[in-house]
Symmetry: C2
Subunit: 317 residues, 2 copies
């Protein structure tokens, strides 16, 4: 079981290694939404996304045998870069199983950190099975993108920092894919801001989290088609789901058009480049604005790794 | 005469009003340039540019008579927004004389802050004369975009914060238009980091600063054609020039292609939207990298207000 103590320990482990990312506000955004919004800029995190937190926390806990044999990870992008960089920093060999259609910028960045990339077809192959067989053959340790106690604990440090850096938040709105960031955020909120409502936001095309919450069990869907490539997960994890089910206030969804509009608004107003998945929390404010009217709302901008032609397309509607 | 004491007083006046903007680093940029770069994010300042510092500092010093009559300013963009917002915060009526071809985003933002906009043709009309006649007719106080002691002092607070927030810098690289930011930065460096080399960077098409430094007097040029719309100045000021001439290490230039490339690099690598003028300092590192090899270099990213179609164009080379 993962607890807040694990998040707090991860924060110590990450201190001086991960960026303590800034919190940005915009009076224009506040006026447009009728909320006060505090944007936690994980797009300015190392590797351009919060995923560095969980990956480094997990790899830093490897024993000598694990370190010498190496790590294998599967990821739609940012977790790949995160494991690759964390492995390089810790001197651990890394193999990354990545979808063949992952954004070019993410594949290039992963290779740039010195990792070996093993491509797969996300519509026909099972990435977890590929990673498992590499692990069995070569003695590698698998670090999954979200369903791992050390990954969840590491991801929770973003919310921990946000609660420490801004005054009392009434709500926290978090992108949701496999649930690592949301579960970690819920642990941080539970200890540091127990009255703070916490919302997950996922792509409308891939609302397995919302379905799971309603059903009270993990619902599995087909791989969703959405520009939020970091949230193309088919189900929550066996570790993340119980935390989310017990603690989350609600899960809402946004469509791709709302994500594109959010990218444009964030670039124009806050001067920040945020990837589609990273916009989920901000885009979700539109459907929460009546519920949260007049309150102080934290939003995690979870990443900024977007191909420049995708960003350019979003800027020209 | 403006001194560091004025900059320090401005910092007190701006505390809690201006954003204390974050400093961002990128190991990828450091590796590419062979430097350690600390990016001071004035694109995340209120109104999206450092200009808010000088404008607010100047308007906050108005007496009751000046406050009730109002302010008039002339500007190619960010100073306009800065004066408009500072005036609104302080309850002062504002009229802004803006070029008819200023970026649409800047004109809209200035109007959005409640100011009256008076357009002019920058190739045939004299904006200073228009402002002077409005001042004479209506008793308004003119706040020029750079050549004013309170403006220079306010702009110096960005460098003051940077010196306070990061360890000893070997060099500071600053965008140069009329010289308000550079002069203020030089005052801050002189007091806080006397061994720090300070460079100004201006558009190659408008290198009046470099010419003035070489000639030892203020050289006036034709309005330059450059995408760095915030640096389309024709001469340094009578207050900024002596400070720059006495203290600056050197002035270098960059062309528009380098500014476009810098916008792209900063968006892709640091996840920051920076306007062309705001990229001057970063783009200038290319010609300074041999001189500064291996050193710690502060760079002011001076603003982020760029029309989204211009940004989109820069992202698709």
């Amino acid at each position: 079981m993962v607890t807040f103590a694990d998040v707090a320990e991860a924060a110590v482990r990450l201190s001086g290694v991960a960026n303590r990312t800034p919190v940005v506000t915009s009076r224009r955004i506040d006026a447009a939404l009728g909320l006060h919004v505090e944007l936690k800029c994980e797009n300015l995190q190392r590797v351009g996304a919060f995923k560095f937190r969980g990956a480094y926390n997990a790899l830093a806990r490897f024993d000598a045998e694990q370190r010498s044999r190496g790590v294998v990870a599967f990821s739609s992008g940012n977790h790949a870069q995160a494991v690759a960089l964390a492995a390089r920093l810790l001197g651990i060999p890394a193999t990354i199983v990545m979808p063949h259609d992952a954004p070019r910028s993410k594949v290039a960045a992963t290779r740039g950190y010195g990792a070996t990339v093993r491509p797969y077809d996300r519509y026909t192959e099972d990435r977890a099975a590929i990673a498992a067989s590499l692990a069995a053959e070569q003695g590698l340790t698998v670090i999954p993108p979200f369903d791992h106690p050390d990954v969840i604990a590491g991801q929770g440090t973003a919310a921990l920092e946000l609660f420490a850096d801004v005054s009392a938040l009434d709500a926290l709105v978090v992108p949701l894919g496999g649930g690592g960031l949301l579960a970690g955020s819920l642990l941080a909120a539970g200890a540091l801001a127990p009255r703070c409502r916490v919302y997950g936001v996922e792509p409308a095309a891939g609302n397995d989290g919302q379905q799971s919450l309603r059903a009270g069990r993990i619902v599995t869907i087909e791989p969703p088609q959405t520009i939020a490539d970091g949230a193309q997960t088919t189900q929550l994890g066996t570790l993340t789901f119980p935390i989310i089910a017990e603690r989350v206030t609600d899960i809402v969804t946004v469509d791709d058009a709302a994500l594109t509009a959010a990218m444009r608004t964030l670039a124009a107003t806050t001067k920040l480049v945020v990837e589609p998945t990273g916009c989920l929390g901000f885009a979700g404010l539109e459907s929460l604005r009546e519920t949260l009217a007049g309150t102080r709302v934290g939003v995690i901008l979870s990443g900024g790794n977007v191909d420049l032609d995708v960003l350019a397309g979003a800027l020209r509607p």
